[in-house]
């Protein structure tokens, strides 16, 4: 019974759900289309529960971290406080403008998140100065291309050399595009084969270790 619930049933559900979606794509039969649509609604509901699971998980992990006084345990305290604060205020007041949740988000989270992201510019500059060397032919090509694109993507580039935007467009539309297409097609084929493996029950890692 345990084996059926833990292995066969999830495999059957995955097979059934996957095959239904594939059939729904190729047919306009209303019953199948409706069922596929229902499945999509179920997935969004499951997704909502997954978010809840994430909140429970981070709370449990953080409490254990604090209890055991693991390195950086102090940082877990504001995490839990603000998790409770945002969750509580969102449940009690909602998330619209003027609520506490919105205030925390707009006045605290947004500037902090933007600050963290903008720090990248400083580290990129420092890393480029120390590590971006024309040691090999490939590195030199990369360096020259990067320089052209960096200049071509800002208005100042046009002042330096009027054809730089066109050169940049050419780089983006030919060398870049051909590589990107290869990556996109490769990734799509990989996704298709992985989907097939899951539908047919060959790929079972989502079932867990036991």
């Amino acid at each position: 019974m345990t084996s059926f619930l833990g292995k066969q049933l999830p495999l059957l559900v995955a097979f059934f759900a996957g095959v239904t979606m594939v059939i729904a794509f190729f047919t306009s039969e209303q019953t199948i289309s409706n069922f596929a649509q229902d499945q999509l609604v179920w997935v969004t509901i499951v997704g909502g529960f997954a978010l809840m699971l994430g909140a429970v998980s981070i709370t449990t992990v953080s409490i254990n971290h604090i209890k055991q006084r693991k390195e950086g345990w102090q940082y877990r305290i504001p995490l839990l406080v603000f998790l409770a604060l945002t969750l509580g205020s969102a449940i009690l007041e909602g998330t619209e403008q003027g609520t506490m949740y919105d205030w925390v988000f707009q006045k605290m989270y947004t500037p902090m998140d933007s600050t963290m992201f903008s720090l990248l510019a400083f580290f990129i500059a420092s890393a480029a100065y120390r590590a971006f060397r024309a040691r090999t032919i490939e590195a030199t090509i990369l360096l020259i291309t990067a320089t052209i694109v960096m200049l071509g993507r800002v208005p100042m580039g046009r002042i330096i050399f009027s054809y730089l935007p066109q050169v940049t467009d050419w780089i983006m539309n030919y060398p870049n595009l051909s590589v990107q297409r290869g990556i996109i097609i490769g990734a799509a084929l990989g996704a298709a084969s992985m989907s097939l493996r899951i539908i047919l029950g060959v790929e079972r890692t989502y079932l867990g270790r036991s």
Binding site: T44, G47, L51, P155
Partner: protein, 275 residues
């Protein structure tokens, strides 16, 4: 002497580099100087497509971005909104990013609605966020109401005047995606490839190179790449905003980084030759 210069340049404290970058950002923001605007073909194509949509049509504008990239993405949303509302379009907004997207959408839409004197439910609707973007994007192709029975505020879609005749991608004239992540792949793969929805995108500079492939395949009608793309769109719309203001800073930072790379290489090769 020469080897000492090379050694000095190689071992320069990174805090001086940070200071240099800070100055490169702050200086052009204080002392503004005019810069030429070259419109890229991708931006022009997006603008032309939006411009060709009949006035009063219903379109979708997405807020698929995190607060960290607001500097690049928000000016795109604002410029797009100005363009769409000057043509009196009805706008459905939504987000596939739970962390911030709906709140950003609410703030931006409320601010712009005040400027353009638009009413919620009649001129625009915010659908908010639903978990699992793949299912959401696929589901919207058949029924908005199945995925979003209510809007961001919990109002049933049926009770919103604007949504009376809108229930699937086919009811929208255009989808304007503003994103800082790979969700554009899914918009193209699900909404465009499967349901034929016409769409264009504004993305961060770091994401833009990937999406040129979709522009050339005509799955995206146009593309805004980073703050530069946003500033070009602002120029076309005739309303210079934050992106245009940031072009000076971005130009200076790019030039500084290029200068640093040249100095770094110079020090490296000079030092190596000396040894």
């Amino acid at each position: 002497m020469a080897s000492r210069v090379a050694e000095f340049l190689s071992s320069i404290d990174r805090r001086y580099i940070f200071l240099l970058i800070s100055l490169s950002v702050v200086f052009p923001l204080i002392f503004k100087f005019p810069l030429p605007v070259a419109i890229s073909p991708e931006t022009q194509a997006l603008y032309d497509r939006v411009d060709s949509i009949p006035d009063g049509s219903t379109v979708m504008l997405t807020f698929d971005y995190y607060p960290s990239t607001l500097a690049e993405t928000e000016p795109m949303s604002i410029a797009a909104l100005k363009h769409l509302w000057r043509k009196n379009m009805k706008i459905v907004t939504m987000s596939t990013v739970g962390l911030g997207g709906p709140s950003i959408a609410e703030r931006v839409m409320a601010t712009m609605a005040k400027e353009f004197n638009r009413t919620y439910g009649i001129d625009y609707v915010n659908l908010g966020y639903k978990a699992n973007y793949t299912a959401v994007l696929l589901g919207l192709g058949t029924s908005f109401r199945a995925i979003y029975p209510t809007d961001f505020y919990g109002t049933p879609l049926d009770s919103l005047p604007m949504m009376q005749n809108v229930d699937k991608y086919g009811d929208l004239k255009f989808i304007y995606i503003v994103s800082d992540n790979g969700i554009v792949d899914y918009w193209v793969g699900l909404a465009n490839a499967q349901f034929g929805a016409s769409m264009g995108a504004g993305v961060t500079a770091v994401m833009a190179p990937k999406f040129y492939a979709y522009v050339r395949a005509q799955q995206l009608v146009g593309l805004l790449g980073g703050m530069k793309g946003a500033s070009e769109y602002e120029f076309l719309v005739g309303s210079e905003g934050m992106a245009t203001a940031g072009m000076g800073a971005q130009s200076m930072v790019h030039l500084t980084i290029i200068g640093l790379i040249i100095i770094g290489n110079f020090a490296y090769f000079w030092g190596r030759r000396r040894r």
